[in-house]
Symmetry: C2
Subunit: 193 residues, 2 copies
């Protein structure tokens, strides 16, 4: 079955370290290439579409989309190469980029975004790109299937926590594996329903 | 050199899961015997003394020590078999138990407790038994050398956080290793000064 998967780098004190995270540098600055490279490669396998929060797509600045020409941080050929469904309150026509990435803008909520992404994925999995707030919503709604945390030995002291705002949701996780790599540990969990 | 070492079980959302933790059941309820047994054995090696917070030693109830006869949760023969220095505001004479455990009560702060424990350890390491508040104080003071976190896939949603109350302390940690075991991952860090 098509799964909803999420990879998030968090500090040892539990804050989402998303700021410098990217497809090219999935662990944020300081990420090393080694056992982590295998994990990273694996994270890209069997993904047919993605869901992304509005803040990961672009900066928030005045007006509905601020700049209607904004097409993400990633240049003309974003590293996704699949349809990406962006959660937003502001309708916008899809934007087709080079290399197979199309940005779709979803205004009717997380379930709709997942449904559309699943359909577009054609049987493959859907990647949830975050950020923290969006991951929280999918976790709380019981829609996330797999969560891989990249734990870096940094204390951020402040920021967004992945496991906040879960309300009364009874989220149950099961450890799938732990992989040690220099400067980071990759912890994979699946949700139990 | 004699190190100050600390083992703490924390939930995936970062709360100290100390309630059901004990020497016999170091991972709290649900802890399994396997790779974790090796980690547990290792944690007991080369320890010559310990420091412990007052709340780990006994229940807080009216009066200085409530019950002056209180000698801990562990019966006549506690599982330590070395001197244990308990941080408290209430002076009390040392209590010698069976099996080599002696409880000393330290009223002049964490540095004094560590100094006394180090001296008693005779070159071996000192175990910091927690709880969270005491661990925070040693972390913030830059006195902790080694921290091993046992991360269990549970969301507690509330409780004490190990990495709170660090004030302006610049705590730097380095990942030493990660060990996967059923239902838990053991993450070992050392502090960098």
């Amino acid at each position: 079955m098509s799964k909803l998967r999420c990879h998030i780098t968090i500090s040892l004190d539990g804050f989402v370290a998303g700021a410098n995270q990217s497809e090219e540098n999935p662990l944020g600055e300081g990420g090393e290439v080694n056992e982590s490279a295998r994990i990273f490669e694996e994270s890209r396998e069997n993904i047919g579409a993605a869901v992304m929060g509005r803040n990961m797509f672009g900066p928030v600045h005045g007006g509905a989309w601020g700049d209607e020409q904004w097409t993400g941080w990633w240049g003309d050929n974003p590293p996704y190469h699949y349809p990406v469904f962006i959660l937003t309150h502001h309708p916008r026509d899809p934007v087709e980029m080079e290399g197979g990435t199309t940005f779709h803008f979803v205004t009717d909520g997380i379930e709709s975004a997942l449904e559309q992404a699943r359909k577009a994925a054609g049987g493959k999995d859907v990647m949830l790109w975050g950020g923290a707030n969006v991951a929280q919503q999918y976790l709380a709604a019981g829609l996330l299937d797999e969560l891989e945390l990249h734990i870096v030995p940094v204390l951020l002291g402040d920021g967004a926590r992945l496991f906040h705002n879960l309300g009364d949701a009874k989220v149950q996780l099961e450890q799938v594996r732990a992989v040690e790599a220099p400067g980071v540990t990759h912890l994979k969990y699946r949700t139990v329903t």
